[in-house]
């Protein structure tokens, strides 16, 4: 198994993937330039490092001037580049994934994310590629489905937008046999719109 870095993973998933405003900066100056274009806080992530959150290589709540301060640490810890993105203030986190079952072939999963995800394991799978109506049907099977119907008067999750993430995962999985597993984790839901904040594509050893 070989894991692609976040930036490459997102490239593989294609242009239709809803993402935050983000860039892969190769210099501190470029990072600061990007930061100046973003309204609100920025997140900076070391590139090419597995489990970067656990390793303390994700820095949150940065302003345009902070970016230069974290550059050296993050660039040195990773592959020399740093991924900068608009920080998403989410009302809900989801996980959209993809994997292959020995018998049923490629599948896309939709699950409730966040810190409780591993405890509740609230996941529903769809045979890839999905057919019309299957994303909505799968969501209705989640134990936490009411979380997607709008929290405290907020908007419900845009299922068409969620469907575009599911389709991007399905398309990559079905078109490239070298792809073993895909994570879009977390998918941050902001004002009902799901945005893929982080992604991971895992390839079979052969590639």
């Amino acid at each position: 198994m070989k894991a692609l870095n976040e930036w490459d993973s997102k490239q593989r998933l294609g242009d239709s993937l809803p993402r935050p405003a983000e860039t892969l900066a190769t210099s501190s100056a470029q990072a600061q330039e990007f930061a100046a274009t973003v309204n609100g806080p920025i997140v900076a992530k070391a590139s090419g490092v597995a489990h970067k959150t656990d390793a303390g290589l994700v820095r949150l709540g940065l302003g345009p001037t902070d970016v230069g301060d974290v550059w050296d640490d993050l660039a040195a810890a990773g592959d020399g580049t740093v991924l900068l993105a608009e920080q998403i203030d989410a009302e809900l986190e989801l996980i959209v994934g993809g994997y292959r079952d020995k018998s049923f072939g490629p599948l896309v999963t939709i699950g409730i994310g966040g810190i409780a995800a591993e405890i509740f394991s609230d996941i529903v799978a769809i045979l890839a590629p999905p057919e019309d109506g299957e994303v909505a049907e799968a969501v209705s099977q989640l134990a936490g489905r009411r979380l997607l119907e709008g929290i405290r008067g907020g908007p419900p999750v845009d299922l068409a937008a969620l469907g575009r993430i599911v389709e991007a995962v399905a398309r990559l999985l079905c078109s490239d046999p070298a792809v073993a597993e895909i994570d879009c984790n977390p998918v941050m839901v902001r004002s009902g719109i799901p945005i893929v904040a982080d992604a991971l594509v895992v390839l079979n050893e052969q590639e």
Partner: protein
């Protein structure tokens, strides 16, 4: 190659009956096979007759079905003998194959190869066999089961477990529902549960299909066949082995969290089959499928009862699974008021109370059936054996055709009325409600 011979053979040969010890499983099999009136003979190295049935040393005609119950190490030669004679289908009941490990797996592949080369289709090994209604009350019992159903009907059942077949037969005896076909597929060296599902889908005698599955090897083909079948008749699936075997080595969160059951459920949802959560709901679903209730979509139900507590449990279940208990209409309430005691609340659940005059049960229950807001009824009666309660339900069903299920305890006269009207009885108030909701799934 057709597998018709498995279910409607005109000629059968049995391998494995003993000439000296009639208590052997093979002798049970021979006796069972001969009991259906098909043309049966035994294959035995030395005997001319076994238990009154003609025996030959080597099969000398192309029978529709051979049943093999010899010890594991002799299966290969038995299958070769049958294949050489041109037998069309075979069921190997003997054990000691893929279920035992590598060596057994090799032997299993060999017998499948021998049969395949001769164009003979094979069920098993390691299975309980076949039971099939041949028409006119004649049965094929090509199984080890000594007590098989004798009521013909439209239910068919394909099982990856022989023992669960025994549970199914026992349920049929209790429920009084009729059987069309049963096949235990065992290790599925050749014919898989999917193949059988496809055949049952085309079988005019089969009106509803149950499946017990432990594993599906051909997921996408299964989905395709199940989808085509479920479009024609209800298919109810019970999948055993739902829990993940443990954490797997996986590089992603998705890979580590994914269990095979999510994949199976994805397939079952796309196929449009009914997935039963456990054996209780499987049998409930088979019952509703047998009487044609699963095709109807019921969302607004009324609970008609004389038993307070059980009907509250039923109402709780209805809410949990997304059914609605609508308020009875004003016209209905106006009809009900003079029929029930003044202290009886005209709610839903509608509790007529045990003090309700016996003859008023019939018009009162009929009024609830006539209410336009009510699409289906659950009748609950614990121990108040006033036949009119059942008569009211029976007349309501006859007048309106509204789907009805019931929970009746210690009220034989009521039960008899319901049975005569074809109203299913379930083992608990919760299950009576759950069965009514099968049309919409849980």
């Amino acid at each position: 190659m057709s597998i018709d011979g498995l279910f409607t053979p005109r000629s059968i040969a049995v391998y494995g009956a003993s000439a000296t010890d009639s208590s052997r499983l093979g002798n049970t099999l021979l006796e069972n096979a001969a009991s259906g009136g098909s043309d049966v003979l035994a294959v035995h190295p030395s005997a001319d007759v076994i238990d009154g049935i003609q025996a030959v040393a080597s099969l000398n005609r192309p029978v529709d079905l051979v049943l093999v119950s010899v010890p594991g190490h002799r299966v290969e030669s038995a299958v070769a003998d049958a294949a050489a004679a041109g037998a069309k289908t075979g069921i190997v009941l003997s054990s000691g194959f893929g279920e035992t490990g590598e060596e057994g797996r090799g032997a299993q592949d060999r017998i499948a190869g021998i049969a395949g080369a001769a164009g003979m289709r094979l069920v098993g090994p390691n299975c309980m066999g076949v039971v099939s209604h041949l028409g006119d009350g004649r049965w094929l019992n090509g199984s080890y089961f000594w007590a098989t159903p004798d009521t013909p009907g439209g239910l068919s059942f394909v099982s990856q477990s022989g023992a669960f077949g025994g549970m199914f037969f026992s349920h049929l005896r209790r429920s009084g529902l009729g059987l069309s076909r049963f096949l235990s597929v065992g290790n599925a060296a050749d014919i898989t549960a999917t193949d059988v599902l496809g055949w049952l889908g085309e079988d005019p005698q089969t009106t509803a299909i149950g499946m017990f599955i432990e594993g599906i090897d051909d997921g996408r083909r299964f989905v395709e066949v199940a989808r085509a079948t479920a479009a024609r008749k209800p298919v109810v699936v019970l999948k055993a082995g739902k829990m993940p075997a443990g954490a797997k080595a996986a590089a992603s969160h998705t890979g580590s969290m994914a269990g095979n059951h999510e994949a199976v459920q994805a397939g079952l949802r796309r196929a449009g089959v009914i997935e039963a959560a456990d054996s209780d709901s499987f049998f409930d679903a088979m019952d509703t499928a047998a009487v044609g209730l699963t095709g109807t979509v019921v969302r607004n139900i009324a609970i008609v009862t004389i038993s307070g507590g059980p009907s509250v449990l039923a109402a709780d279940t209805a809410e949990r699974i997304g059914l609605t208990l609508p308020k009875l209409g004003n016209a209905t309430m106006a009809q009900l008021r003079p029929l029930v005691p003044a202290f009886a609340a005209l709610g839903n659940p509608f509790d007529l109370t045990p003090q309700c005059p016996a003859d008023n049960f019939i018009p009162a229950i009929e009024s609830v059936y006539a209410d336009e807001a009510v699409e289906g009824i659950v009748a609950i009666n614990c121990g108040l054996d006033i036949a009119q309660f059942g008569t009211g339900v029976a007349r309501g069903v006859a007048r309106t055709g509204k789907p009805t299920t019931s929970f009746v305890l210690d009220a034989p006269a009521v039960e008899a009325e319901l049975a005569a009207a074809g109203v299913l009885r379930f083992a608990s108030p919760e299950r009576a409600v759950g069965a009514l909701s099968l049309g919409i799934g849980e």
